[in-house]
């Protein structure tokens, strides 16, 4: 029988898994349970918490601000995920060569990922300035009257989406590049001998063998996307007039500005459940399209 079983296997699991698991339980799971506990209270962080049962959740059900934040978050995901995945994939494909100087390109494309949102937000607010920003100027050249972007209630969210997708292209690129390295050269060689063109090779070899990495990118982007915050905080502050507010912004405002840590915790619990469901569905679906070695 192949592999090791019984006590030796248990030993390996204990040695390999327990440090990580213990730290996880102590420093992640513990505080998460704490948050769940806080969600049943009313607490402004200064005076002692007061138990109120499920009242926070009842209030959430009717809270228009929260509903709008949820809608905006979904809107963000629908726009951001396809853009960043397709763009990152394209970049990875372009830069998956060993030509001299390609390392420099990869560094350039990674730079926005490490730049803080304060700087990126300023840059994009300048690009998307309705009066004299680059984007509206270019649109003007083809006769389109550019929208108000971040000064408009309808276009604030798209502005955030564009800036976010641009900033994270390098992130997706790096992950997919790493994934491409495990694809054996021999497969490409064999395909070329058989006369397959670049597009055919992409479709039949690269993409299928890249699915584990793509799956990773999708799951992580969704988990992080649901919790989008920094860019909204810095670019639009949820405005104008609350039109670009997202869930985590509501959570932060409630915890630290409004003195409603209990309510914010309840919002986190709801968000958690939503993300959990979406991820679970993705895990289920992975059998259908992810190809493991």
């Amino acid at each position: 029988m192949v592999g090791v079983s019984g006590w030796r296997k248990a030993g390996v699991i204990i040695v390999f898994l327990s440090p990580s698991l213990l730290a996880l339980l102590a420093f992640s799971i513990g505080p998460m349970i704490g948050t769940g506990w806080v969600s049943l209270h009313e607490w402004n962080l200064i005076r002692p918490a007061r138990f109120i049962g499920l009242d926070n959740f009842r209030e959430l059900w009717h809270d228009e601000n929260f509903h709008r934040a949820l809608r905006n978050t979904l809107y963000y995901l629908v726009g951001y995920i396809p853009l960043v995945t397709a763009g990152g994939l394209g970049l990875a494909l372009l830069l998956n060569t060993r030509v001299k100087g390609v390392a420099l390109f990869r560094a350039f494309y990674f730079l926005p990922v490490v730049t803080s949102w304060v700087v990126v937000a300023l840059l994009w607010k300048w690009l998307l300035n309705p009066k004299d920003g680059l984007v509206n100027w270019m649109l003007g050249l083809v006769g389109i009257d550019g929208p108000g972007w971040w000064t408009s209630q309808t276009w604030a969210m798209p502005s955030v989406i564009l800036a976010s997708a641009w900033k994270d292209l390098g992130f997706v690129m790096v992950i997919l590049l790493a994934g491409m390295q495990t694809i054996p050269e021999t497969l490409y060689e064999a395909a070329m001998i058989d006369g397959a063109g670049a597009w055919r090779r992409l479709r039949s070899i690269t993409l299928p063998l890249l699915t584990p990495s793509l799956f990773f990118v999708l799951v992580i982007s969704l988990i992080n996307g649901f919790q989008v915050f920094d860019q909204v905080w810095v670019m639009t502050d949820g405005g104008p007039a609350g039109s670009s507010t997202v869930v985590v912004q509501q959570i932060v405002k409630n915890t630290f500005d409004y003195g409603r840590a209990g309510y914010a915790s309840a919002q986190s619990v709801v968000l958690f459940v939503i993300i959990l469901l979406v991820t679970a569905i993705q895990m289920r679906l992975q059998k259908k399209w992810v190809f493991y070695g």
Binding site: I46, K125, G239, D257
Partner: protein, 441 residues
């Protein structure tokens, strides 16, 4: 080949981490606030351990107003205090205002509040009511604190249910700052203390020159300016029945006054939002004629050499000025209440403090000291510093509510929706009033 390369990677990584660990260890061991191996076992974050053989008490003081420009000034005050009180050592912790309350609230929630810290008027109530602050009455009684030293209005501002919980450290107010050169070039008279909105509007119209990128006036469309404008036109935020009354005719007048400016005599939202501190940059570039802003701008303006002066904020039917106050408070759980009281008394009222603050324009001390202020009045630009004190004759106090910040956001959103969503002022204010009333329950 790959295997050896990876082994080498692992070894070099391990080497790096080992170096890092050594570095951390070395840094940790000479850190004087660390007691033994771990953090403070006391209820506060300050070190309760005294140095072996000494009686030294260390107090922590957390502040948002010192960094980044006034750390040296705070040091001056601390040095003076420590030389008068050799057994007390003050340790400063700073954070930017934007992050200050996140950090402070977390520390308070975790029972690890600093011994002494800074609060502004808006947040004071929450901390006082929440039982987080030290009652200062015993220290008034024993003479450590002299109530007569402070402006009565300021001292009262930091009491709760009749008990003194904070000492007023600074105050600042919002005035009308104007560019004399632009006024001269247009041949207009300077603003006076009798000016009304109409006068300001007329001057702004005359001074705005879109071609040259020059604007007539700038007043932030914000909650703070709104309640001030409301007071200036005789309105009030809450009516006698305790319900929101800012959506009446006077409220509409105040909101219109604010929201009609962007795009006419004031830059548009697109200009303002695209550059941080846009109004400051605009005024310093000599392209703004009148600017509603606070006295904290003086130092920066003096560095540019712009010819400017100030005047009390023009009212409409009456005058009203916005005043901001900060307090120094002590944490209820501090292990050294006596020393803490001494420190905050010194920090807020000592002659060294008054001198240092006035000399470097680090906000104004809230002390009852005409002599000290006499020098302030003649110590440089702007010439009309008297306006700073005249503004105190008619103060527009912010409405106070349990759910303060939510109310501010509601009003700010309402004003923004007028500017960006094409909603008319009356509707926006009506909606806001309804939302604010919902908060009152």
């Amino acid at each position: 080949m790959t295997k050896t390369k990876n082994l080498r990677t692992r070894r070099s990584l391990v080497g790096l981490a080992a170096a890092a660990a050594l570095l951390l260890g070395a840094c940790g061991s000479d850190d004087k606030t660390d007691t033994a191996n771990s953090g403070s076992p006391d209820t506060t974050a300050s070190s309760g351990e005294d140095a072996a053989g000494g009686d030294k008490v260390t107090l922590t003081y957390f502040t948002f107003s010192a960094a980044p420009d006034h750390l040296a000034d705070l040091d001056t005050i601390i040095t003076a205090f420590e030389s008068e009180n050799p057994s007390i050592h003050i340790e400063v912790q700073t954070a930017a205002y934007a992050d200050y309350f996140t950090s402070l609230q977390t520390q308070v929630a975790g029972d690890a509040a600093p011994d002494t810290f800074e609060l502004n008027y808006e947040n004071f109530v929450t901390y006082a009511r929440g039982g987080a602050l030290l009652d200062l009455s015993p220290y008034v009684t024993d003479g450590s604190i002299d109530p007569a030293r402070y402006f009565p209005l300021a001292l009262d501002g930091f009491t709760e249910s009749g008990t003194q919980y904070g000492l007023p450290a600074t105050f600042s107010d919002v005035v009308l700052i104007y560019n004399k050169t632009l006024f001269d070039a247009a041949g207009l008279d300077y603003p006076t203390a009798d000016w009304t909105w109409a006068d300001e509007q007329a001057a702004a119209d005359a001074l705005t020159d879109p071609a040259a990128g020059v604007f007539g006036n700038y007043q932030p469309v914000s909650f703070h300016e709104f309640y001030k404008a409301l007071a200036q036109t005789g309105g009030s935020f809450f009516g006698p029945d305790g319900k929101a009354s800012f959506n009446d005719a006077k409220g509409v007048e105040a909101a219109t006054w604010l929201t009609h400016k962007p795009g006419t005599t004031m830059p548009t939202l697109a200009d303002i939002g695209g550059t941080p501190d846009y109004d400051t940059a605009l005024f310093k570039s000599g392209k703004l004629a009148m600017w509603h802003n606070g006295i904290w701008q003086f130092t920066g303006l003096n560095e540019t050499g712009i010819d400017y002066d100030i005047v009390v904020d023009p009212g409409n039917t009456t005058k009203a000025s916005a005043v901001f106050m900060n307090a120094a408070v002590a944490s209820k759980g501090t292990s050294h209440p006596v020393e803490a009281a001494k420190w905050i008394a010194f920090l807020t009222g000592s002659p060294t403090t008054v001198e240092t603050r006035l000399a470097s324009s680090w906000e104004l001390p809230a002390v009852n000291d005409e002599a000290a202020f006499a020098t302030y009045l003649t110590s440089g630009a702007p010439a009309n510093r008297q306006a700073v004190f005249d503004s105190l004759d008619n103060v527009a106090l912010p409405p106070v509510l349990e759910r303060q910040q939510e109310m501010q956001d509601i009003v700010a959103n309402a004003l923004e929706s007028v500017l960006t969503g094409g909603v008319d002022v009356q509707t926006a204010l009506d909606n806001a009033a309804a939302e604010v009333n919902a908060l009152l329950d």
